[in-house]
Amino acid sequence: MMTSYSYATQELIAGLATPFAASALAVLRTSGEGAIEQIARCFSDPERLHSSGHGCLVHGVFQHPDSRRAIDDVVLGIYRAPGGYTGEDSVEIFCHGSLPGIQRILDALHAAGFRDALPGEFTYRAFLHGKIDLTQAEAVQEIVGSKSEKAHGFAMNRLSGKLSQVIDREKQRIIDIMSVLEVQLDYAEDEIEEDTAVPLDEITSAEEALTRLAETYGVGRLFHEGARIVIAGKTNAGKSSLFNLFLKQDRAIVSDVHGTTRDYLESWISIDGMPARLYDTAGFRYADPQGFPEIIEEEGIRRSWGVIEESDLVLYILDGTTGMNQEEKALFEGHREDPKYLFLWNKTDSDSAQPCPKGAFPVSAVTAEGFSKIEQSILTRLLGGNISSSDQEIMIDSLRQRELLRKAAASLQEAVQAVNSSMPVDIIASELQNAVSALGELTGEVTADDILDRIFSNFCVGK
């Protein structure tokens, strides 16, 4: 995937590091051998730039290298190789966030010999120069794309090597187990006094730990991509009011007329730090007594079902003033225990509200009564008890990591099975070796020397 990029680091690259949108400030990033010299050609005070060391900020005017026309007042951040993010000479340009201004600076950079950076190319160069390893490179993608503060926290954990630490702990444990087996392969039966039994418990517990870590992928993904939460329910049950309550702004059109939301609306929200995409669907109008949705809104409703299918959680709103119809009763009975459904008993503020049935959550979309409890329930449902709300929790979020962890866990299971079917030690050892090399792909290789070191320090061997 990255191999298509140019390996030639003498090519100068430039890219906008902040969104191309009007804002107070924007940051452009440049990198490559000679970047500082080329930027100096676009700067009002080239001398100061040349004499600035690594990590300095310089204020001045950015100008076109040929016409010398001033473009913007900027601050330049200077990084000299091998420091800085990419490990190359690099300049970060802090300018005003006006779209024509950003465009003119980019034009000037092109004139000075920079080309547009490919997606991820700065990180790729950092990797190429050994500034970051593979898991860290993945984590950078994360920070850049993270949807909420908590997701940012997870990514930061990994970048500082916490995930590596956890995986490393399990790897060390397996190496310990391996040394117990390998010593029997390296020394004859008469050279070591007694065989140590294969520590099955240890293998199993390492396997469980790795499986657990692999399973955090689901949660990691929620934080990374955002959970998909759908609001569904009969027309006029109060879906849009609830949607707005989440948004705390009048985004959806709220009216008393049934079926105002003909299609669905979506918006990013944050539930206690977890990013989520909230969908407000078209209402299901049950034409009593048959209870089938009417044809007119077929398209919107069809889409609504599609959204429900792909969602992580469905908030089904029941109208507390009218109670449940036949279909809703069936739905409620069928999904009361289903973690994907959360039933809300709306309009508790109304005088005509009926008592909330067991298994549903009372709420008033108007007064927000019961709302915080719902937010808590949403979190519990989505995270399935997998996570405390602390940033310290380690979780994985790339498929590659999950696959390698699963591979390692599977090899450990094979090892257990080999032990149980009385396979010889060398076969069991080869399964453990497979597990270690899968983990090695995540955090760096384990060599035979690592295992021999362990043997020599733990066993009295040698004739």
């Binding site: 120069h129 390296d186 039966e189 076969i427 080869s430 020599f456």
Partner: protein, 599 residues
Amino acid sequence: MDIDAIVVGGGHAGIEAALALSKLQFSTLLITQNLDAVGRLSCNPAVGGLSKGNIVREIDALGGMMGKLIDETMIQFRILNRRRGPAVQAPRAQADKFSYHRLAKETLESQPYLQVFQDTVTDLILDETHSRAAGVKTERGRCIPSRCVVLTTGTFMEGKIFIGNHWASSGRLGEPAAVGLGTRLRELGFRMLRMKTGTPARVRRSSIDLEKLEEQPGDEQMQSFSFSGKLPERPSVSCYIAFTNTRTHQIIQENLHSSPLYGGKITGIGPRYCPSIEDKVVRFPQRDRHQIFVEPEGLGTEEMYLNGISTSLPEDVQEAFIRSIDGFAQAQIMRPGYAVEYDVIDPTQLYPTLETKQIEYLFSAGQTNGTSGYEEAACQGLLAGINAGLKLQGKEPLILSRAQAYAGVLIDDLVTKGTNEPYRMFTSRAEYRLNLRHDSADQRLLERAYQLGMQDEQAVERLREKIQKIDEIKHLLREQKLPGGKTWYQHLKSPEISIQQLFSQNSDLPAYDEAYLRQAELDVKYEGYIKRQDMQVKRFEKLERIRIPRDFDYFSVEGLSAEGREKLHALRPVSVGQASRISGVRNSDVAVLMVRLGR
């Protein structure tokens, strides 16, 4: 007669190197300090063992001598680790030291194209550019020109032995060191290391109360290491097992100050896997006994080797602690234990052909390269000899891969990672050990040796017959069925069914060599694992196949890390695979090389 090749040293590496070069019909001269010490087993009187037994059989498949020497001189044979699995069992034999040495000398003497000469080499003759070996100079002032030189100096290069306070300039007890050559190599700019190894006392058999020791007999049937060999048929002698005790340890503890190891006299690095008894007592204080193998040095001698208690303590302390061992109260020491320290060429200065990078046509093998063990030395000697010959012939070198032979693992480890202790082969060093079984060494290597001129027609015929027989057996396994309809093949997959059990079901079947049956059995039983390993090997070989030219300019490659560039430049790996195993070379460097070298 003009000399094509000079081999310096007559140990296990030197013997193989000299025989290989002369087999390839190069006029070869082996120079040794002492003709009466050729092929001497200076440490324990045994050949083979775990992974080492595999190496002996690899040497044999490649046309080397070690397997034949031990077959003719073994006085006990055992297959080790039978129940620990197919990949790790290996043959080991006790040798009659004196017969072994004598047969080695006779073999050298009867080899066409080979001369043997007693002298001490002190310097190399180089060409005017100082970058090519052109012969040797000896202690007695002789200059002998040649087209290539193989160094197999063992523990003799600037060797020094220690017993307590005593030290002497020797390579073995009673044999003077070769002084001068190590210093000369340093002057030529080689990075030299100091290493240390040790040996225990030899004790008179009739002074030991063998009744108090546990007897360890060999296997009933001796087997041959050589693939060409007849089964050796001679009476087997026993070894014995004794144990140190807390009294022994106390004596050692109290006298540690007089050990040159702990007194700081020895600076060389010793092997962790074969610690002296001083080391064992210090490092494992919680153990109240250590095992000792009491091994006969031969049939015509009373000397018994005390394997497990190598030491350099003063002689009176040695006597005291040995006599504290049950069964040894009256023990008479015939030779004391000692430590020896010697010069080693840092092996990362070698190509995988074992030629030095700095001086062309200079090869080096064995303990000179930082290994320990007869088998490790012999396989290097053989490959250095073959590669020197191939170079003189202008042919492609023979580089064995890690998936092909333990010898390949050994040499790759040495030249790629170097070593900071005497390097011994271990099963766990080989990633693909299911493929490296001792019984398949001929299938892995013999054809290649034949192509190079190291094996004769007969040997290849034998191999073809073996392969055919094994195929026949597997065919039978697929055809024969047990009541219930499942084939023997399917039954054999379960751990508790043996091939003998199956073949005993039908007496009409032809009789097969037990070794062939065994091999077919392992192939079937572990088929799944072997297949998986084969896939891993395929992946591994991808990188091995991307060759790097010798004069490749790493400084012209953009994108290499500074450290990686430096390491690659210094080490000059022959393939991207080897490059990937150099410490300090990063994944990204490997990626860059792959792109640059046309992947």
